[in-house]
């Protein structure tokens, strides 16, 4: 019975979202179902926070591998929660000077703002910067010329990469006008605009049709595996 209700809710909300861009009468209903989703997601966050605390507490309690990281997670979670909810160090709101806690929680100068600016942002930037090394190691493996296809990939990548640097432009700048198409920057642009765009469009068309088919299977209740295999769909 619960599964049937879930399917009815999913199908109704899905159809509403599908039809609302085409039928102006349903636009507000579509927007409202989006709002309802946001409310449900906010409520689910309590469950998520509960899971985070429970799992990390038990990891610390059992002294599992990496329990120190779990402890750091718990401490950071608690500190951020208290600082954010308690609006610690929030400058007063000039519009409501007499009202305590009227300032924005993330106003410049507040403890929450400080955590965001000087803890979260540097850590996030560091993780993002690490990506350069991962790209290098992945490229090293991908461009290893082990067969004909890999050699073709390597050659294409060489042209595209070199064509987008000053060195590439300089290397072939002496080519005469009638052979300007062979200049590395022009070759690079040709590969990106013709071969790359054609391949990308084919993938995007396939994805669009795939999204339509997946949505229809779920809306019509044919694919119910989002509730677990054996949810009546198999």
């Amino acid at each position: 019975m619960i599964r049937l209700v879930a399917i009815i809710i999913a199908s109704t909300a899905g159809l509403l979202m599908l039809l609302s861009p085409f039928l102006p009468a349903l636009t507000s209903a579509g927007a409202q179902s989006s709002e309802i989703f946001n409310v449900i997601a906010a409520i689910a966050f309590i469950l998520g926070a509960g899971s985070l605390v429970k799992v990390n507490l038990s990891r610390v309690g059992r002294r599992d591998a990496g329990w120190g990281y779990a402890l750091v997670t718990l401490v950071c979670f608690a500190v951020t929660l208290v600082v954010g909810l308690g609006k610690v160090g929030v400058p007063p709101n000039p519009q409501f000077a007499a009202t305590p806690w009227a300032g924005e929680k993330d106003a410049a100068g507040s403890a929450f703002w400080w955590i965001y600016e000087f803890v979260l942002t540097p850590i996030t930037s560091t993780m993002f910067a690490l990506l350069a090394f991962y790209v290098a190691s992945a490229a090293f493996r991908a461009f290893r010329a082990k067969n004909r296809e890999a050699m073709l990939l390597l050659g294409t990548a060489f042209i595209v990469l070199l064509g987008r640097t000053f060195a590439g432009v300089w290397l072939t700048s002496g080519f005469p006008e009638w052979a300007s198409g062979l200049r590395l920057e022009n070759l690079s642009m040709f590969i990106m605009q013709v071969f790359n765009t054609a391949g990308n469009r084919a993938i995007i068309i396939g994805i669009a049709l795939g999204v339509t088919a997946t949505s229809l299977r779920i809306l019509l209740g044919i694919d119910r595996s989002w509730m677990g295999v054996g949810g009546g769909g198999e």
């Binding site: 009468a25 991962y134 088919a213 229809l216 989002w226 677990g228 295999v229 054996g230």
Partner: protein, 296 residues
């Protein structure tokens, strides 16, 4: 002090209530202007898919080409069982309002059923609370269906953080410590795709990825053993279920591709003819009209 929850009408509805009936009727057309071609496309694509589903129900045989990445799911879970290591499944970093996340959860159901049958351990870190709840429901259902409900562990499906790089840092750490033998990345990924896939590669895990984010596909192809590219990812659930209805929807999808291909050929032909005959106003107008319809 008591607080009351009051439902207020939406702004547009409230404004409409103050307008005279005739004015409201002229202000709001039944069908949105300029959406005709899009609606036509949706109807044709949906029509193809539904027609094939009806054909399958009438008993027509449906054959599907093999997808190696999906055939490898059982092998990957079997390898994890033999090595006594967990299976890691990540359903992307977006919420349940993203179709890729929904597709990822449907694949999770099938993977979880296999882990239940093989008695392997599955770990599902999520970056959204709602995805955690949906994943728990899917895994619970699969373990029940496999008759192994005692093996279901709700804490193995847990919320980490909404923060993109916070999530990837936590999952990478978990991968290095627990060394899962099989890693599945099925959903919507952005810059974190390569960090996850390279970490998985460094620990020697079998990796199967699937996404509809075309910008992330090269990273997965470079670092994973198998990659489901775009539509293959969307087709995965139907493929794994083996149900005729669902396989028929993939056939309908192929019919849609044939129609799109034919339309592309007609468009190319018309655009070429228009470029070769700049004096033909009929051709120029036709091509311009088609461009306008497609918004290009």
């Amino acid at each position: 002090m008591l607080f009351a929850l009051v439902v207020l009408p939406a702004t547009t509805q409230a404004n409409a209530a103050h307008q005279p009936a005739g004015e409201a009727a002229t202000a709001q057309p039944i069908f949105a202007e300029g959406k005709g071609p899009l609606a036509g496309g949706v109807l044709v694509a949906s029509g193809c898919i539904i027609a094939w589903m009806l054909l399958a129900r009438s008993g027509a045989a449906m054959r599907l080409r093999r997808i190696p990445a999906l055939d490898a799911v059982t092998n990957a879970v079997g390898r994890s069982t033999e090595m006594g290591r967990p299976v890691l499944f990540i359903a992307g970093i977006q919420d349940m309002d993203n179709i890729q996340t929904v597709a990822g959860i449907t694949i999770l159901s099938h993977v979880a059923k296999t882990t239940a049958e093989y008695d392997a351990r599955i770990e599902v870190p999520t970056s959204r609370s709602l995805v955690m709840e949906a994943a728990r429901e899917a895994v619970r259902g699969s373990y029940q269906a496999a008759g192994r409900f005692d093996g279901y562990n709700a804490d193995a499906i847990r919320y980490i953080t909404d923060e993109q790089f916070g999530f990837v840092a936590s999952v990478s750490g978990q991968m290095v410590r627990e060394r899962p033998a099989a890693c599945f990345y099925m959903g919507c990924f952005f810059a974190e795709s390569l960090i996850l896939a390279e970490t998985g590669n460094s620990i020697g895990a079998i990796q199967i990825a699937g996404t509809a984010e075309s910008s992330q596909l090269p990273f997965f192809v470079a670092a994973c053993d198998y990659t489901l590219i775009g539509e293959e990812f969307m087709a995965a659930s139907a493929y794994l279920s083996g149900a005729p209805d669902q396989i028929a929807s993939l056939k309908g999808q192929d019919a849609g591709k044939v129609i799109v291909g034919a339309l592309v050929c007609v468009g190319v032909l018309l655009a070429t003819l228009a470029a070769l005959n700049p004096s033909s106003t009929t051709l120029q107008n036709l091509v311009n009209h088609l461009r306008g319809m497609l918004g290009s």
